[in-house]
Protein backbone atom coordinates (compact mmCIF):
# COMPACT_ATOMS: atom_id res chain seq x y z
CA UNK A 1 0.00 0.00 0.00
CA UNK A 2 1.27 3.47 -0.83
CA UNK A 3 1.85 6.05 1.82
CA UNK A 4 -1.41 7.70 0.89
CA UNK A 5 -3.41 4.52 1.26
CA UNK A 6 -5.88 3.91 4.00
CA UNK A 7 -3.53 2.89 6.79
CA UNK A 8 -5.94 3.57 9.59
CA UNK A 9 -5.39 1.88 12.93
CA UNK A 10 -8.95 1.27 14.03
CA UNK A 11 -12.25 0.36 12.42
CA UNK A 12 -13.68 3.57 13.75
CA UNK A 13 -11.16 5.55 11.71
CA UNK A 14 -12.11 3.67 8.54
CA UNK A 15 -15.74 4.33 9.28
CA UNK A 16 -15.06 8.01 9.90
CA UNK A 17 -13.16 8.31 6.64
CA UNK A 18 -15.97 6.82 4.58
CA UNK A 19 -18.48 9.07 6.32
CA UNK A 20 -16.32 11.98 5.14
CA UNK A 21 -16.31 10.61 1.59
CA UNK A 22 -20.10 10.26 1.55
CA UNK A 23 -20.45 13.76 2.99
CA UNK A 24 -18.23 15.17 0.26
CA UNK A 25 -20.19 13.40 -2.48
CA UNK A 26 -23.59 14.49 -1.16
CA UNK A 27 -22.40 18.08 -0.69
CA UNK A 28 -21.05 18.39 -4.23
CA UNK A 29 -23.63 16.45 -6.18
CA UNK A 30 -26.84 17.71 -4.54
CA UNK A 31 -27.29 20.85 -6.66
CA UNK A 32 -26.69 19.04 -9.96
CA UNK A 33 -28.90 16.14 -8.88
CA UNK A 34 -31.71 18.49 -7.90
CA UNK A 35 -31.42 20.24 -11.26
CA UNK A 36 -31.75 16.96 -13.11
CA UNK A 37 -34.68 15.80 -10.98
CA UNK A 38 -36.47 19.12 -11.48
CA UNK A 39 -35.86 19.03 -15.21
CA UNK A 40 -37.62 15.65 -15.48
CA UNK A 41 -40.83 16.77 -13.73
CA UNK A 42 -44.01 18.29 -15.04
CA UNK A 43 -44.53 21.86 -13.89
CA UNK A 44 -47.37 20.75 -11.63
CA UNK A 45 -44.95 18.41 -9.81
CA UNK A 46 -42.34 21.14 -9.47
CA UNK A 47 -44.64 23.51 -7.60
CA UNK A 48 -46.28 20.81 -5.50
CA UNK A 49 -46.74 21.15 -1.75
CA UNK A 50 -45.61 19.02 0.02
CA UNK A 51 -42.43 18.64 -1.95
CA UNK A 52 -42.23 15.83 -4.48
CA UNK A 53 -38.64 14.61 -4.67
CA UNK A 54 -38.74 12.03 -7.46
CA UNK A 55 -40.29 12.82 -10.84
CA UNK A 56 -43.33 10.63 -11.39
CA UNK A 57 -44.06 10.25 -14.24
CA UNK A 58 -40.69 11.13 -15.79
CA UNK A 59 -41.23 13.63 -18.58
CA UNK A 60 -39.05 15.45 -21.08
CA UNK A 61 -41.60 18.21 -21.46
CA UNK A 62 -39.29 20.84 -19.91
CA UNK A 63 -36.60 20.03 -22.46
CA UNK A 64 -38.90 20.40 -25.45
CA UNK A 65 -40.42 23.53 -23.90
CA UNK A 66 -37.08 25.25 -23.40
CA UNK A 67 -36.38 24.97 -27.13
CA UNK A 68 -39.81 26.40 -27.93
CA UNK A 69 -39.94 29.23 -25.45
CA UNK A 70 -36.39 30.52 -26.02
CA UNK A 71 -33.95 30.44 -28.97
CA UNK A 72 -32.21 27.67 -27.08
CA UNK A 73 -30.68 26.05 -30.16
CA UNK A 74 -28.97 29.40 -30.86
CA UNK A 75 -27.64 29.49 -27.31
CA UNK A 76 -26.04 26.10 -27.83
CA UNK A 77 -24.55 27.02 -31.18
CA UNK A 78 -23.22 30.32 -29.82
CA UNK A 79 -21.62 28.64 -26.83
CA UNK A 80 -20.04 25.93 -28.97
CA UNK A 81 -18.67 28.36 -31.56
CA UNK A 82 -17.33 30.84 -29.03
CA UNK A 83 -15.81 28.25 -26.72
CA UNK A 84 -14.17 26.17 -29.42
CA UNK A 85 -12.81 29.18 -31.32
CA UNK A 86 -11.34 30.83 -28.27
CA UNK A 87 -9.92 27.48 -27.22
CA UNK A 88 -8.06 26.97 -30.51
CA UNK A 89 -6.85 30.55 -30.67
CA UNK A 90 -5.70 30.65 -27.06
CA UNK A 91 -3.90 27.36 -27.07
CA UNK A 92 -2.18 28.07 -30.37
CA UNK A 93 -0.83 31.43 -29.25
CA UNK A 94 -0.04 30.16 -25.77
CA UNK A 95 1.88 27.21 -27.18
CA UNK A 96 4.16 29.52 -29.12
CA UNK A 97 4.84 31.77 -26.15
CA UNK A 98 5.30 28.85 -23.75
CA UNK A 99 7.81 27.13 -25.97
CA UNK A 100 9.92 30.28 -26.00
CA UNK A 101 9.62 30.70 -22.25
CA UNK A 102 10.39 27.08 -21.46
CA UNK A 103 13.14 26.26 -23.95
CA UNK A 104 14.81 29.33 -25.34
CA UNK A 105 17.09 31.88 -23.71
CA UNK A 106 14.45 34.55 -23.20
CA UNK A 107 15.70 37.48 -21.18
CA UNK A 108 13.64 38.37 -18.08
CA UNK A 109 11.77 35.10 -18.15
CA UNK A 110 10.30 35.60 -14.72
CA UNK A 111 9.10 39.07 -15.63
CA UNK A 112 7.20 37.66 -18.61
CA UNK A 113 5.52 34.95 -16.55
CA UNK A 114 4.70 37.47 -13.82
CA UNK A 115 3.20 39.86 -16.35
CA UNK A 116 0.96 37.10 -17.70
CA UNK A 117 -0.12 36.18 -14.19
CA UNK A 118 -0.86 39.80 -13.37
CA UNK A 119 -2.99 40.18 -16.48
CA UNK A 120 -5.08 37.16 -15.57
CA UNK A 121 -6.20 38.99 -12.44
CA UNK A 122 -7.60 41.98 -14.37
CA UNK A 123 -11.27 42.41 -13.39
CA UNK A 124 -13.65 41.50 -16.22
CA UNK A 125 -16.20 44.04 -15.04
CA UNK A 126 -13.63 46.78 -15.70
CA UNK A 127 -13.51 45.63 -19.32
CA UNK A 128 -17.23 46.05 -19.80
CA UNK A 129 -17.19 49.76 -20.71
CA UNK A 130 -14.05 49.95 -22.87
CA UNK A 131 -14.84 46.76 -24.77
CA UNK A 132 -18.45 47.80 -25.24
CA UNK A 133 -17.31 51.14 -26.67
CA UNK A 134 -14.52 49.74 -28.81
CA UNK A 135 -16.64 46.95 -30.23
CA UNK A 136 -19.47 49.36 -30.97
CA UNK A 137 -17.09 51.64 -32.84
CA UNK A 138 -15.78 48.83 -35.02
CA UNK A 139 -19.14 47.09 -35.32
CA UNK A 140 -18.31 43.95 -33.36
CA UNK A 141 -21.11 44.12 -30.78
CA UNK A 142 -23.34 41.05 -30.99
CA UNK A 143 -20.77 39.16 -33.05
CA UNK A 144 -18.73 36.11 -32.07
CA UNK A 145 -15.32 37.86 -32.11
CA UNK A 146 -16.60 40.22 -29.39
CA UNK A 147 -16.38 37.25 -27.03
CA UNK A 148 -13.72 35.12 -28.68
CA UNK A 149 -11.08 37.87 -28.47
CA UNK A 150 -11.38 38.72 -24.76
CA UNK A 151 -11.86 35.05 -23.77
CA UNK A 152 -8.66 34.12 -25.57
CA UNK A 153 -6.78 36.71 -23.60
CA UNK A 154 -8.09 35.68 -20.23
CA UNK A 155 -7.38 32.01 -20.60
CA UNK A 156 -3.98 32.70 -22.09
CA UNK A 157 -2.08 33.18 -18.82
CA UNK A 158 -3.18 29.85 -17.33
CA UNK A 159 -2.54 28.12 -20.65
CA UNK A 160 0.93 29.60 -20.80
CA UNK A 161 1.62 28.43 -17.26
CA UNK A 162 0.38 24.93 -17.97
CA UNK A 163 2.29 24.63 -21.21
CA UNK A 164 5.50 26.17 -19.91
CA UNK A 165 5.49 23.68 -17.05
CA UNK A 166 4.82 20.90 -19.53
CA UNK A 167 7.50 21.86 -22.07
CA UNK A 168 10.09 21.85 -19.31
CA UNK A 169 9.46 18.12 -18.82
CA UNK A 170 10.34 17.21 -22.42
CA UNK A 171 14.00 16.15 -22.49
CA UNK A 172 16.09 18.69 -24.38
CA UNK A 173 18.23 15.89 -25.93
CA UNK A 174 15.44 15.32 -28.42
CA UNK A 175 15.60 18.88 -29.64
CA UNK A 176 19.37 18.91 -29.76
CA UNK A 177 19.36 15.71 -31.80
CA UNK A 178 16.88 17.21 -34.26
CA UNK A 179 18.92 20.40 -34.58
CA UNK A 180 22.11 18.42 -35.17
CA UNK A 181 20.36 16.31 -37.80
CA UNK A 182 19.78 19.52 -39.73
CA UNK A 183 16.25 20.23 -38.65
CA UNK A 184 15.55 23.99 -38.56
CA UNK A 185 14.32 25.59 -35.35
CA UNK A 186 10.79 25.88 -36.70
CA UNK A 187 11.00 22.32 -37.96
CA UNK A 188 12.09 21.13 -34.52
CA UNK A 189 9.12 22.91 -33.05
CA UNK A 190 6.53 21.46 -35.41
CA UNK A 191 7.99 17.97 -35.85
CA UNK A 192 9.43 17.18 -32.43
CA UNK A 193 8.00 19.42 -29.73
CA UNK A 194 4.35 19.80 -30.73
CA UNK A 195 3.64 16.06 -31.10
CA UNK A 196 5.24 15.40 -27.71
CA UNK A 197 3.30 18.14 -26.01
CA UNK A 198 -0.13 16.75 -26.89
CA UNK A 199 -1.08 15.98 -23.26
CA UNK A 200 -0.18 19.48 -22.09
CA UNK A 201 -2.03 21.02 -25.01
CA UNK A 202 -5.08 18.87 -24.23
CA UNK A 203 -5.13 20.02 -20.62
CA UNK A 204 -4.78 23.68 -21.55
CA UNK A 205 -7.51 23.24 -24.17
CA UNK A 206 -9.96 21.75 -21.70
CA UNK A 207 -9.43 24.47 -19.15
CA UNK A 208 -9.77 27.20 -21.76
CA UNK A 209 -12.92 25.55 -23.05
CA UNK A 210 -14.49 25.39 -19.60
CA UNK A 211 -13.57 29.03 -18.86
CA UNK A 212 -15.18 30.26 -22.07
CA UNK A 213 -18.18 27.94 -21.81
CA UNK A 214 -18.95 29.28 -18.34
CA UNK A 215 -18.18 32.98 -18.73
CA UNK A 216 -21.06 35.26 -17.85
CA UNK A 217 -20.01 38.88 -17.24
CA UNK A 218 -18.81 39.76 -20.75
CA UNK A 219 -21.26 37.53 -22.58
CA UNK A 220 -24.01 39.29 -20.71
CA UNK A 221 -22.78 42.84 -21.34
CA UNK A 222 -21.50 42.55 -24.92
CA UNK A 223 -24.33 40.51 -26.43
CA UNK A 224 -27.68 42.28 -26.19
CA UNK A 225 -29.38 40.36 -29.00
CA UNK A 226 -31.19 37.36 -27.56
CA UNK A 227 -30.12 35.22 -30.49
CA UNK A 228 -26.48 35.85 -29.55
CA UNK A 229 -26.73 34.78 -25.90
CA UNK A 230 -24.46 32.01 -24.74
CA UNK A 231 -25.89 29.22 -22.57
CA UNK A 232 -25.12 30.66 -19.10
CA UNK A 233 -26.63 34.03 -20.08
CA UNK A 234 -29.62 32.55 -21.87
CA UNK A 235 -30.45 30.22 -18.99
CA UNK A 236 -29.92 32.86 -16.29
CA UNK A 237 -32.15 35.35 -18.07
CA UNK A 238 -34.99 32.83 -18.31
CA UNK A 239 -35.59 33.83 -14.70
CA UNK A 240 -36.72 37.34 -15.57
CA UNK A 241 -40.37 36.54 -15.97
CA UNK A 242 -43.35 37.08 -13.73
CA UNK A 243 -43.33 33.48 -12.55
CA UNK A 244 -39.86 31.92 -12.52
CA UNK A 245 -39.93 28.88 -14.84
CA UNK A 246 -37.76 26.60 -12.70
CA UNK A 247 -38.48 23.60 -14.90
CA UNK A 248 -37.16 25.34 -18.00
CA UNK A 249 -34.17 26.73 -16.10
CA UNK A 250 -33.33 23.26 -14.79
CA UNK A 251 -33.58 21.72 -18.24
CA UNK A 252 -31.42 24.49 -19.72
CA UNK A 253 -28.85 24.28 -16.94
CA UNK A 254 -28.68 20.49 -17.24
CA UNK A 255 -27.94 20.75 -20.95
CA UNK A 256 -25.28 23.37 -20.20
CA UNK A 257 -23.41 21.18 -17.74
CA UNK A 258 -23.43 17.99 -19.82
CA UNK A 259 -20.09 18.64 -21.59
CA UNK A 260 -18.58 19.75 -18.29
CA UNK A 261 -19.62 16.54 -16.56
CA UNK A 262 -18.19 14.48 -19.43
CA UNK A 263 -14.85 16.26 -19.08
CA UNK A 264 -14.82 15.63 -15.34
CA UNK A 265 -15.57 11.94 -15.73
CA UNK A 266 -13.03 11.25 -18.48
CA UNK A 267 -10.25 13.75 -17.89
CA UNK A 268 -10.26 14.44 -14.18
CA UNK A 269 -6.56 13.74 -13.74
CA UNK A 270 -5.36 16.16 -16.40
CA UNK A 271 -7.82 18.78 -15.21
CA UNK A 272 -6.52 18.54 -11.66
CA UNK A 273 -2.87 18.74 -12.69
CA UNK A 274 -3.53 21.57 -15.13
CA UNK A 275 -5.61 23.73 -12.87
CA UNK A 276 -2.93 24.06 -10.28
CA UNK A 277 -0.12 24.81 -12.72
CA UNK A 278 -0.80 28.52 -12.63
CA UNK A 279 -1.24 28.78 -8.91
CA UNK A 280 1.80 27.01 -7.54
CA UNK A 281 5.42 27.22 -8.42
CA UNK A 282 6.00 25.51 -11.76
Amino acid sequence: MTRNGLDFDTKLQYFGFYVAVVLLIVYSFTPALWLILTSLKETSQIIKVPLQYIPNPVTFEQYSQVFERAPFASFIINSVVVSLSSMVLTVFIATLASYALARLRVRHKQAWLTAFLLISTYPLIALMVPLFQTFREIGLLNTYPALILPYSVFSMPISIWILTTFFRTIPSDLEDAALIDGCSRVGTLTRVIFPLSAPGVATASMITFVNSWNEFTLAFSLMSDEHRYTLPVGVTLLRDQFVTPWGLISAGATITIVPLVLLIVFYQKSLISGLTAGSVKG
Binding site: T2, F29, Y122, M128, Q133
Partner: protein
Amino acid sequence: MSTIAGEVQQRGRLDNLKRLARGDLSERELIFLLLAPATVFLLLMVVYPLGRTIFLSMHQLKLSAPQETLPFVGLEQFAKMFADARFYNSLRVLGIYGAGTVIFPLIVGLFMALVVHRVFPGRWIARAAVILPWAMPRSLSALTWSWILDSSYGLVNGTLLGLGLVSEPILFLGQSDLAMVSLIFASTWKTGSFMALILLSGLQSIPGQLYEQGKVDGTSKLQAFRYITVPQLKSSILVALIFRTIVAVQVFDTPFALTKGGPGTATEPLSLYIYRVTLNHLDFGYGSALALFMIALTLVAAVLYIRVLWD
Protein backbone atom coordinates in the same frame (compact mmCIF):
# COMPACT_ATOMS: atom_id res chain seq x y z
CA MET B 1 22.81 55.09 -58.55
CA SER B 2 23.43 51.53 -57.51
CA THR B 3 26.83 50.81 -56.15
CA ILE B 4 28.42 47.48 -55.58
CA ALA B 5 28.01 47.95 -51.87
CA GLY B 6 24.28 48.61 -52.35
CA GLU B 7 23.89 45.49 -54.44
CA VAL B 8 25.65 43.37 -51.88
CA GLN B 9 23.41 44.77 -49.19
CA GLN B 10 20.32 44.04 -51.24
CA ARG B 11 21.40 40.51 -51.97
CA GLY B 12 22.10 40.10 -48.28
CA ARG B 13 18.56 41.14 -47.49
CA LEU B 14 17.17 38.74 -50.06
CA ASP B 15 19.17 35.88 -48.64
CA ASN B 16 17.90 36.79 -45.23
CA LEU B 17 14.31 36.60 -46.43
CA LYS B 18 14.96 33.24 -48.08
CA ARG B 19 16.48 31.99 -44.88
CA LEU B 20 13.45 33.16 -42.89
CA ALA B 21 11.09 31.55 -45.38
CA ARG B 22 12.90 28.25 -44.92
CA GLY B 23 12.16 28.49 -41.21
CA ASP B 24 15.86 28.79 -40.48
CA LEU B 25 15.70 31.39 -37.72
CA SER B 26 18.24 32.52 -35.23
CA GLU B 27 17.20 32.03 -31.62
CA ARG B 28 16.49 35.72 -31.09
CA GLU B 29 14.27 35.94 -34.15
CA LEU B 30 12.39 32.86 -33.06
CA ILE B 31 11.83 34.25 -29.56
CA PHE B 32 10.44 37.44 -31.04
CA LEU B 33 8.16 35.55 -33.39
CA LEU B 34 6.86 33.26 -30.64
CA LEU B 35 6.17 35.91 -28.03
CA ALA B 36 4.75 38.55 -30.37
CA PRO B 37 1.20 37.19 -30.82
CA ALA B 38 0.57 36.74 -27.10
CA THR B 39 1.99 40.17 -26.36
CA VAL B 40 -0.06 41.91 -29.05
CA PHE B 41 -3.22 40.20 -27.82
CA LEU B 42 -2.64 41.17 -24.24
CA LEU B 43 -1.83 44.77 -25.15
CA LEU B 44 -4.99 45.09 -27.23
CA MET B 45 -7.33 43.44 -24.77
CA VAL B 46 -5.95 44.71 -21.47
CA VAL B 47 -3.63 47.67 -21.80
CA TYR B 48 -5.72 49.52 -24.38
CA PRO B 49 -8.98 49.07 -22.41
CA LEU B 50 -7.14 50.17 -19.26
CA GLY B 51 -6.13 53.36 -21.06
CA ARG B 52 -9.70 53.99 -22.11
CA THR B 53 -10.95 53.40 -18.59
CA ILE B 54 -8.49 55.93 -17.17
CA PHE B 55 -9.45 58.43 -19.89
CA LEU B 56 -13.19 58.00 -19.33
CA SER B 57 -12.90 58.18 -15.55
CA MET B 58 -11.89 61.82 -16.02
CA HIS B 59 -14.57 62.65 -18.58
CA GLN B 60 -18.29 62.89 -18.36
CA LEU B 61 -20.14 60.42 -20.55
CA LYS B 62 -23.77 59.67 -19.86
CA LEU B 63 -25.58 57.80 -22.59
CA SER B 64 -28.94 58.53 -20.97
CA ALA B 65 -29.06 61.87 -22.83
CA PRO B 66 -27.55 62.82 -26.18
CA GLN B 67 -24.14 64.35 -25.59
CA GLU B 68 -22.25 66.34 -28.22
CA THR B 69 -18.95 66.78 -26.44
CA LEU B 70 -16.96 64.79 -23.98
CA PRO B 71 -16.31 67.27 -21.16
CA PHE B 72 -13.17 66.84 -19.10
CA VAL B 73 -14.10 66.75 -15.42
CA GLY B 74 -10.74 65.93 -13.83
CA LEU B 75 -11.08 64.05 -10.58
CA GLU B 76 -14.70 65.09 -10.03
CA GLN B 77 -16.03 61.58 -10.46
CA PHE B 78 -13.60 60.24 -7.88
CA ALA B 79 -14.78 62.92 -5.47
CA LYS B 80 -18.34 61.81 -6.19
CA MET B 81 -17.31 58.22 -5.54
CA PHE B 82 -15.87 58.97 -2.12
CA ALA B 83 -19.09 60.75 -1.17
CA ASP B 84 -21.36 58.03 -2.54
CA ALA B 85 -23.19 56.06 0.18
CA ARG B 86 -23.98 53.25 -2.24
CA PHE B 87 -20.28 52.92 -3.09
CA TYR B 88 -19.46 52.53 0.61
CA ASN B 89 -22.29 50.03 0.93
CA SER B 90 -20.82 48.00 -1.93
CA LEU B 91 -17.44 47.99 -0.15
CA ARG B 92 -19.06 46.90 3.10
CA VAL B 93 -20.79 44.04 1.26
CA LEU B 94 -17.48 43.17 -0.36
CA GLY B 95 -15.76 43.15 3.03
CA ILE B 96 -18.25 40.76 4.62
CA TYR B 97 -18.52 38.62 1.51
CA GLY B 98 -14.75 38.56 1.11
CA ALA B 99 -14.06 37.53 4.70
CA GLY B 100 -16.68 34.77 4.50
CA THR B 101 -15.70 33.43 1.12
CA VAL B 102 -12.02 33.32 1.89
CA ILE B 103 -12.31 31.49 5.20
CA PHE B 104 -15.07 28.97 4.47
CA PRO B 105 -13.80 27.80 1.07
CA LEU B 106 -10.40 27.28 2.70
CA ILE B 107 -11.93 25.00 5.34
CA VAL B 108 -14.05 23.13 2.78
CA GLY B 109 -11.11 22.92 0.39
CA LEU B 110 -8.80 21.55 3.04
CA PHE B 111 -11.37 18.91 3.95
CA MET B 112 -11.78 17.90 0.29
CA ALA B 113 -8.03 17.84 -0.35
CA LEU B 114 -7.37 15.62 2.67
CA VAL B 115 -10.02 13.15 1.51
CA VAL B 116 -8.95 12.78 -2.12
CA HIS B 117 -5.25 12.81 -1.25
CA ARG B 118 -5.72 9.25 -0.02
CA VAL B 119 -5.92 6.28 -2.34
CA PHE B 120 -9.09 4.26 -1.88
CA PRO B 121 -11.60 2.33 -3.98
CA GLY B 122 -14.03 4.71 -5.64
CA ARG B 123 -11.67 7.64 -5.36
CA TRP B 124 -12.62 8.84 -8.83
CA ILE B 125 -16.15 9.63 -7.63
CA ALA B 126 -14.74 11.67 -4.77
CA ARG B 127 -12.42 13.39 -7.23
CA ALA B 128 -15.34 14.17 -9.52
CA ALA B 129 -17.12 15.59 -6.48
CA VAL B 130 -14.16 17.87 -5.89
CA ILE B 131 -14.04 19.20 -9.47
CA LEU B 132 -17.77 19.45 -10.18
CA PRO B 133 -18.35 22.75 -8.36
CA TRP B 134 -15.34 24.25 -10.14
CA ALA B 135 -16.68 23.13 -13.52
CA MET B 136 -20.20 24.51 -13.02
CA PRO B 137 -20.72 28.02 -14.39
CA ARG B 138 -20.82 30.47 -11.47
CA SER B 139 -24.07 31.97 -12.76
CA LEU B 140 -25.85 28.63 -13.04
CA SER B 141 -24.59 27.29 -9.73
CA ALA B 142 -25.91 30.45 -8.05
CA LEU B 143 -29.18 30.09 -9.93
CA THR B 144 -29.45 26.48 -8.78
CA TRP B 145 -28.92 27.54 -5.17
CA SER B 146 -31.59 30.20 -5.51
CA TRP B 147 -33.93 27.42 -6.67
CA ILE B 148 -32.91 25.12 -3.80
CA LEU B 149 -33.38 27.96 -1.30
CA ASP B 150 -36.65 29.16 -2.89
CA SER B 151 -39.19 30.15 -0.27
CA SER B 152 -42.22 28.52 -1.91
CA TYR B 153 -41.04 25.34 -3.63
CA GLY B 154 -37.36 25.01 -2.75
CA LEU B 155 -35.69 21.79 -1.66
CA VAL B 156 -34.53 23.14 1.70
CA ASN B 157 -37.80 24.68 2.79
CA GLY B 158 -39.78 21.74 1.42
CA THR B 159 -37.68 19.31 3.43
CA LEU B 160 -37.72 21.38 6.61
CA LEU B 161 -41.51 21.76 6.37
CA GLY B 162 -41.96 18.10 5.57
CA LEU B 163 -39.93 17.07 8.61
CA GLY B 164 -41.88 19.54 10.74
CA LEU B 165 -38.71 21.39 11.71
CA VAL B 166 -40.21 24.75 10.75
CA SER B 167 -43.84 25.77 10.59
CA GLU B 168 -43.45 28.30 7.80
CA PRO B 169 -40.88 28.69 5.04
CA ILE B 170 -37.66 30.59 5.74
CA LEU B 171 -37.12 33.53 3.41
CA PHE B 172 -33.46 32.80 2.69
CA LEU B 173 -33.07 35.39 -0.03
CA GLY B 174 -35.62 37.92 1.19
CA GLN B 175 -33.96 39.08 4.42
CA SER B 176 -30.74 41.08 4.40
CA ASP B 177 -28.71 38.96 6.80
CA LEU B 178 -29.95 35.62 5.53
CA ALA B 179 -29.39 36.71 1.93
CA MET B 180 -25.77 37.47 2.77
CA VAL B 181 -25.38 34.11 4.52
CA SER B 182 -26.90 32.39 1.47
CA LEU B 183 -24.59 34.28 -0.85
CA ILE B 184 -21.54 33.27 1.17
CA PHE B 185 -22.78 29.68 1.28
CA ALA B 186 -23.40 29.45 -2.49
CA SER B 187 -20.04 31.03 -3.18
CA THR B 188 -18.28 28.69 -0.77
CA TRP B 189 -19.82 25.73 -2.54
CA LYS B 190 -18.59 27.01 -5.88
CA THR B 191 -15.07 28.04 -4.86
CA GLY B 192 -14.06 25.43 -2.28
CA SER B 193 -13.06 23.17 -5.19
CA PHE B 194 -10.33 25.36 -6.48
CA MET B 195 -8.92 25.80 -2.99
CA ALA B 196 -8.96 22.01 -2.68
CA LEU B 197 -6.95 21.63 -5.88
CA ILE B 198 -4.29 24.11 -4.78
CA LEU B 199 -4.02 22.44 -1.38
CA LEU B 200 -3.97 19.00 -2.98
CA SER B 201 -0.94 19.89 -5.04
CA GLY B 202 0.61 21.21 -1.84
CA LEU B 203 -0.13 17.93 -0.05
CA GLN B 204 1.40 15.94 -2.88
CA SER B 205 4.64 17.84 -2.59
CA ILE B 206 5.19 16.97 1.08
CA PRO B 207 8.03 14.42 1.24
CA GLY B 208 6.81 11.03 2.49
CA GLN B 209 9.88 10.51 4.66
CA LEU B 210 8.59 13.16 7.03
CA TYR B 211 5.63 10.96 7.91
CA GLU B 212 7.73 7.81 8.10
CA GLN B 213 10.15 9.55 10.41
CA GLY B 214 7.14 10.69 12.45
CA LYS B 215 5.91 7.12 12.70
CA VAL B 216 9.28 5.94 13.95
CA ASP B 217 9.16 8.67 16.55
CA GLY B 218 5.71 7.48 17.59
CA THR B 219 3.64 10.51 16.64
CA SER B 220 -0.10 10.08 16.42
CA LYS B 221 -2.14 10.88 13.29
CA LEU B 222 -3.35 14.09 14.85
CA GLN B 223 0.16 15.14 15.82
CA ALA B 224 1.41 14.35 12.33
CA PHE B 225 -1.29 16.59 10.90
CA ARG B 226 -0.50 19.39 13.34
CA TYR B 227 3.29 19.26 13.18
CA ILE B 228 3.98 17.97 9.65
CA THR B 229 1.03 18.61 7.32
CA VAL B 230 0.02 22.10 8.42
CA PRO B 231 3.52 23.67 8.46
CA GLN B 232 4.42 22.03 5.13
CA LEU B 233 1.18 23.28 3.62
CA LYS B 234 1.70 26.85 4.77
CA SER B 235 2.78 28.30 1.43
CA SER B 236 -0.03 26.55 -0.47
CA ILE B 237 -2.53 27.91 2.04
CA LEU B 238 -1.15 31.40 1.60
CA VAL B 239 -1.33 31.14 -2.20
CA ALA B 240 -4.88 29.82 -1.99
CA LEU B 241 -5.95 32.62 0.35
CA ILE B 242 -4.56 35.45 -1.74
CA PHE B 243 -5.79 33.92 -4.97
CA ARG B 244 -9.25 33.58 -3.48
CA THR B 245 -9.14 37.21 -2.31
CA ILE B 246 -8.42 38.44 -5.84
CA VAL B 247 -11.39 36.51 -7.21
CA ALA B 248 -13.68 37.49 -4.31
CA VAL B 249 -13.01 41.20 -4.86
CA GLN B 250 -14.35 40.86 -8.40
CA VAL B 251 -17.43 38.77 -7.63
CA PHE B 252 -20.29 39.48 -10.04
CA ASP B 253 -22.08 36.42 -11.43
CA THR B 254 -22.93 34.81 -8.10
CA PRO B 255 -24.82 37.73 -6.49
CA PHE B 256 -26.31 38.63 -9.87
CA ALA B 257 -27.82 35.19 -10.29
CA LEU B 258 -28.60 34.48 -6.63
CA THR B 259 -29.96 37.69 -5.13
CA LYS B 260 -29.55 40.39 -7.79
CA GLY B 261 -27.88 42.35 -5.01
CA GLY B 262 -31.01 42.34 -2.92
CA PRO B 263 -33.00 42.73 -0.89
CA GLY B 264 -32.40 46.41 -1.62
CA THR B 265 -28.64 46.69 -1.85
CA ALA B 266 -27.89 44.26 0.99
CA THR B 267 -25.83 41.92 -1.22
CA GLU B 268 -24.64 44.36 -3.88
CA PRO B 269 -20.83 44.20 -4.10
CA LEU B 270 -18.72 46.69 -6.03
CA SER B 271 -18.88 44.89 -9.38
CA LEU B 272 -22.67 44.72 -9.31
CA TYR B 273 -22.80 48.42 -8.50
CA ILE B 274 -20.43 49.16 -11.39
CA TYR B 275 -22.72 47.17 -13.67
CA ARG B 276 -25.79 49.10 -12.48
CA VAL B 277 -24.13 52.50 -12.91
CA THR B 278 -22.86 51.55 -16.34
CA LEU B 279 -25.56 49.55 -18.07
CA ASN B 280 -28.67 50.58 -16.09
CA HIS B 281 -27.94 54.26 -15.47
CA LEU B 282 -25.73 54.44 -18.59
CA ASP B 283 -23.18 56.61 -16.79
CA PHE B 284 -20.00 55.38 -18.46
CA GLY B 285 -17.80 58.08 -16.94
CA TYR B 286 -18.68 57.36 -13.33
CA GLY B 287 -18.73 53.64 -14.06
CA SER B 288 -15.13 53.92 -15.26
CA ALA B 289 -14.07 55.73 -12.10
CA LEU B 290 -15.59 52.90 -10.04
CA ALA B 291 -13.95 50.32 -12.30
CA LEU B 292 -10.58 51.98 -11.77
CA PHE B 293 -11.04 51.62 -8.04
CA MET B 294 -11.76 47.93 -8.56
CA ILE B 295 -8.59 47.57 -10.64
CA ALA B 296 -6.57 49.23 -7.87
CA LEU B 297 -8.06 46.87 -5.26
CA THR B 298 -7.22 43.85 -7.40
CA LEU B 299 -3.73 45.10 -8.07
CA VAL B 300 -2.91 45.34 -4.37
CA ALA B 301 -3.96 41.72 -3.85
CA ALA B 302 -2.24 40.60 -7.06
CA VAL B 303 1.10 42.16 -6.14
CA LEU B 304 0.91 40.44 -2.78
CA TYR B 305 0.16 37.18 -4.57
CA ILE B 306 3.14 37.48 -6.88
CA ARG B 307 5.48 38.33 -4.04
CA VAL B 308 4.38 35.25 -2.13
CA LEU B 309 4.65 33.07 -5.22
CA TRP B 310 8.19 34.14 -6.04
CA ASP B 311 9.33 34.08 -2.46
